[in-house]
């Protein structure tokens, strides 16, 4: 297989001459080695970013990334790609802002266009209570040095002329906040870009390889059982989102996680009409327009546990009702596709990144409805945690122990809508 080359305007021109038939594979498909220095389980954004930073920041390149299907087809390839760092608590601000900063330089760093679009993210208030809450958040966020501001009704009207601002609507809009650096990026590009860059530094990406168990001796992990045989490693990092409880069960401990469907849908493509990301907690929907012109929308989880990657129609009905309430102009738009992913929900709506009761086994999960925005930052601090066998200071508050100490990081209100 040809070596994965740098992408540039020249490589594009060269390949155009051959009708794009001779591009080299972006990453290799090697046979598993019997042992590695570290194994990452789960080829979503979090696992791939972790493998990349292990190689890049810590020089650990003898790494296998093990994915049961093709990479990037879990939640990473199913999400609505909202990126922001306007979280209330200091601990969250630190990790989400690290992530946003890394996103801002990622296309250059990975030599892969992630199509980051910082088009601004607007949160609506529909009651005095909402308004005070978003003002409080704006101030808390600014104290952490992160951009965030209130919008006047006139500014809001100018920014989104098609938004229903009638005082007679069912839940009248009375105010809004914005994070101007918030926006969207291309989900597949995050997975593929990290995969290509990790492979380039020597990481073996093993697709269609499922982890079926852990080999644990005297409280230490020695490797993983897979559908392609046993693979040894003294360090194993697990980032499998909705399947975290299944893997914890294999390793013999319990997690405070429930797996739920989270649904989203897109409309037929429209001419450009809406150039921010909008979210409303009270009317409960969030919405953006993709580069192809499709409206992308989502809301909250289905309330029951599921591993089925599909949800129930009542949620879709709610999302559409909320969309039409805020944007009467969209009432005749046709929907094209709907899907679900299985998200790993934690009681405090914050992730778990750190050590586990098994030494050498590390866990990165609980990102639930909102872990696309955190992929670079999470991979960065998780790689450090694995390399040093010590939580990165930004990861430390997100330990599994916080459920015994009581130091929960309650982000249920994080900008209202679930993601």
């Amino acid at each position: 297989m040809k070596k994965n080359k740098r992408y540039s305007i020249f490589s594009l021109a060269r390949n155009a001459r051959n009708y794009h038939e001779n591009w080299a594979a972006a990453w290799r498909s090697p046979e598993p080695k019997p042992s590695y220095d570290a194994i990452i389980v789960g080829g979503g954004g979090h696992g791939l970013a972790t493998a990349y930073y292990l190689a890049k920041q810590h020089g650990i390149t003898n790494v296998a990334l093990i994915e049961k299907g093709p990479i990037g087809l879990g939640n990473t390839g199913r999400n609505t790609t909202v990126i922001r760092s306007n979280y209330l608590w200091d601990e969250s601000a630190a990790i989400y802002e690290l992530s946003l900063k890394l996103y801002e330089g990622l296309s250059q760093e990975l030599n892969y266009n992630i199509m980051l679009s910082q088009r601004g993210l607007v949160s609506l208030a529909h009651s005095q209570h909402d308004l005070r809450e978003i003002e409080r958040r704006v101030n808390a966020i600014r104290l952490n040095g992160i951009d965030s501001e209130m919008l006047s009704m006139a500014e809001l009207k100018q920014l989104i002329p098609i938004l229903n601002l009638s005082p007679n609507s069912r839940y009248p809009v009375i105010g809004a906040s914005i994070q101007r650096r918030g926006g969207t990026a291309r989900h597949d590009a995050i997975a593929w870009g990290y995969a290509r860059a990790a492979d380039d530094r020597g990481v073996d990406i093993l697709q269609h390889t499922e982890v079926t168990g852990f080999r644990i001796q005297g409280g230490r992990v020695e490797g993983v059982e897979t559908t392609r045989g046993f693979i040894a490693a003294p360090k194993v990092g697990v980032a499998v989102a909705g399947h975290s409880s299944v893997l914890a069960d294999m390793a013999g401990f319990r997690l405070p996680i429930s797996s739920h469907p989270l649904q989203a849908m897109v409309s037929e493509p429209l001419k450009p009409i809406f150039n921010t990301v909008l979210m409303s907690a009270a009317v409960h929907v969030y919405l953006s327009q993709s580069d192809r012109g499709e409206l992308v929308m989502g809301a909250g989880i289905d309330k029951f546990n599921s591993y089925a990657q599909r949800g129930s129609p009542p949620i879709l009905e709610d999302i559409l009702a909320a969309t039409v309430e805020l944007f009467p102009i969209f009432s005749r738009v046709k929907m094209m596709r709907q899907w679900g992913g299985i998200v790993d929900v934690c009681p405090d709506a914050s992730p778990i990144v750190g050590k586990t009761p098994v030494s050498g086994l590390y866990l990165n999960c609980g990102w639930g409805t909102g872990g696309f925005k955190s992929i670079p930052g999470s991979g960065f601090v998780f790689a450090h945690t694995i390399a040093q066998d010590e939580p990165h200071e930004i990861a430390a508050p997100f330990s599994l122990e916080r459920f015994s100490t009581g130091a929960l990081i309650d982000e249920h209100g994080a900008s209202g809508v679930a993601h």
Binding site: V246, R254, P256, F304, A308, T405, G406
Partner: protein
């Protein structure tokens, strides 16, 4: 869309019900004697199987009564509906 057989009213659409999560989590009998880890287990740790789960549902927009079901979390098939207080089956979960 789930169709759930309320033991009191009959089969109704999911939209009439609220899901109360995992069933059979017993409140500790002697809370003063619990360690922090035991509290964490009671309050936060959850059985989250890819397979059969025993869970509580309430027929909120109907008789407003609670009951238990056993449901497959992959196929969503409801295998058993039974009363609150009735023990779980030994097999399954």
């Amino acid at each position: 869309m789930l169709r759930i057989e309320c033991p009191h009213c009959g089969a109704r659409d999911e939209a009439e019900f609220s899901c109360g999560g995992e069933a059979h989590i017993a409140r500790p009998k002697e809370p003063d004697k619990l360690s922090d880890a035991e509290w964490a287990d009671y309050l936060y740790m959850r059985t989250n199987p890819k397979g059969i789960l025993a869970e509580r549902w309430c027929h909120t927009f109907g008789c407003r009564r609670w009951f238990n079901i056993e449901r497959d979390t992959v196929s969503h098939e409801i295998l058993r509906v039974y009363a609150m207080g009735e023990p779980r089956r030994e097999s399954g979960t």
